[in-house]
Amino acid sequence: MADATMQVFRGDRSGGQTVEYKVPMVPGMVVLDALHYIQGHLAPDLAVRWNCKAGKCGSCSAEVNGRPRLTCKTRMDALPLNEPIVVLPMQTFPVIKDLVTDVSWNYQVNKTIPPFQPKPGAEWKFYQEDVDRVQEFRKCIECFLCQNVCHVLRDHGEQPRFGGPRFFVRVAGLEMHPLDGVSRAKVLKEQLGIGLCNITKCCTEVCPEDIHITDNAIIPLKERVVDEYYDPLTWLVRKIRGAAEK
């Protein structure tokens, strides 16, 4: 098989540029294999994050020919090989080195989310149909590709007041847990800024786990916030019920 030409970003916080490498093609090869070949033979200090190499850990996110992808699941033979394959780090996060970016902001946002707390006196009995929907959210492998493409973060830099799709998925997983007893509407509205999302569905398109982020997580959560804050009757009922439960 022929060689593939890779153009890989090399640089750090102070800047950088793509560098070209020739990589021999092997059947079934994925972009991460090509990056490993470069490390082993051409540039031993090429910085790349990866772990499982099986699409389960969400470490190896990058932008391949302009598309945000898991490099371990991006087949080389699915890309046009008559032109260079361009691999850049995720653009929404500050680069640390080469393809490794500083994703620590995500871990900060995660800390602000109130954890699962069972309803008082919860009985640990519930059915598959109760969990089907929530299990979808719990498939998330935290690759942060949705955060990377979300224009509220990428183009408008709203990190200080917007949590991003990953954390709406996480909140949806908690809120729709059949035994959860906490409301996160306030956090969604005030800290995570869910109102800033104008449902362009870019996040859903790039999700390697096929989570319907916009339709199944964000829209229902937006509705919850609306119910809680703007529907006077529901607001009153929740207030009373909430007080009764305490």
Partner: protein, 572 residues
Amino acid sequence: MNDRFETHEHDVLVIGAGGAGLRAAIEALAQGGSVGVVSKSLLGKAHTVMAEGGIAAAMANVDSQDNWRTHFRDTMRGGKMLNNWRMAQLHAQEAPDRVRELEQWGALFDRTQDGQILQRAFGGHTFRRLCHVGDRTGLEMIRTLQDRGVNLGFDVYMECTVLRLLTDGARCAGAVAYWRETGRFVVFRAKSVVMATGGIGKVYSITSNSWEYTGDGMAQAYEAGAELMDMEFVQFHPTGMVWPPGVQGILVTEAVRGEGGILRNKTGERFMERYDPKRMELSTRDVVARSIYTEVKEGRGTEHGGALLDISHKPAEYVKKKLPSMYHQFKELADVDITTGPMEVGPTCHYVMGGIRVEAETAQSKLPGLFAAGEVAAGLHGANRLGGNSLSDLLVFGRRAGAAAAQHAKEVSAPRVDDGQIEQAESEALRPFQTHGGDNPYAIHHDLQKMMQSLVGIFRVRDDLQKALGELQRLKDRLSHVSVEGSRMFNPGWHLAMDMKSMLTVSEAVARSAMVREESRGAHSRIDFPELSAEWGKKNNIIWSRGTEMGLRQEVLSEMPAELKQLLAEEK
């Protein structure tokens, strides 16, 4: 104390943020005191996310006859009776509570018709016992533990790699590490250390394990004075992907067989009938791996040297629902639709039963203040691990290690940390930058993997093992002249050069232990000694450091109480 280095102090330092490390940290936090967790990767990326099939726990939700006694018996029989019986007992007794606890922390398992946690069949388990979430149980577990720990407030040091343990006389005093991002060194002073670094699979070329699995915890504990045990027992999972080459070794979950998958050779024969007619595809992993290997070796393998695993007789929707990641993995990486055709599979290095020798109740090693849990520890699984017993191991012994480490920290004074040890670690770590014209770490790693795969693999023989020990010596010499390019900033070549030291230590421990065990038991198969030996069935191999040399001796298994012996004698 040297102020040249960034220093952190904790009552309990946990090294490794997989299932065992996180469970240990949660327990230590619950007992009060400060807890630090050091992780080579980002939080939530640990190898535990790769665990697919489930958590074995005798909850009896599906098969009401199940109980801890049967789980204990299955574990001991699966381990060919070399297990630490007390660990096997504690594990079987405590696993159900550990699973319920996960559920109460927010984990969402698949459900039975009557609203309980669903359990599936797995190799070597008498009853349907594996609590699961489709084929992504490990991810569910790690997220649940991660969120619990973050909420309780442990300090996590992400992308930070430990280089060595620190000792204060004959006790553990902390660790020296480096930040992967900057290459700067960092010192952790701790009254107790819990090792939870996982296994050694990266010493083989065909492996389901990630770059992290370089045996650091075992090698560092060994250097600091702890003992290793049962290192000859390396589990080759029967079903890894074999084609295309880029995906070779990636795991195909045992849940495929648990859900009814059938193994055939290229002639279409269901060959497990010849190897284990009673348990067939759900025989133990050692047996299935050897059977596939033998089929291929005797010319009945597929085009790419594997066997065929078929689940396509089940309804397509069922397969997609119960095995979603397998469906996508094959579709995307191998152009195979597993709902309509078979998968090509072959053995892949998956797990090591051996590791740091610990006390059953406390998970403490021979070095006071050093605890170990999960894959890095030895004892529970004996000569072969049953599928599903790993996740339960992480929970049961992670909790025990965390509790004992916190208790120990309350009882001892703050250790003294010796600058000499820190400086030695620093100068050793920086040496590859000062060595010019030496070997490339990737080349040394590649040669180690190839050698271990061919000489210390599924079937072993004395001459090969002898040769392997010679090769290991040559690789050590090469590593002493390794040189790396670039700066200390996020430099994978340099990181690999440091991991190589651990890989060579654990490889030597595997080869030495394999050489002296002149029998075939569980995952250890000797062509020159194909039978079980009653004599070897009573002994564990123990490895310890004699300074510059590796010591090896045998210790007799401890006597099992009569009631447990009785359980094992029962025919079932």
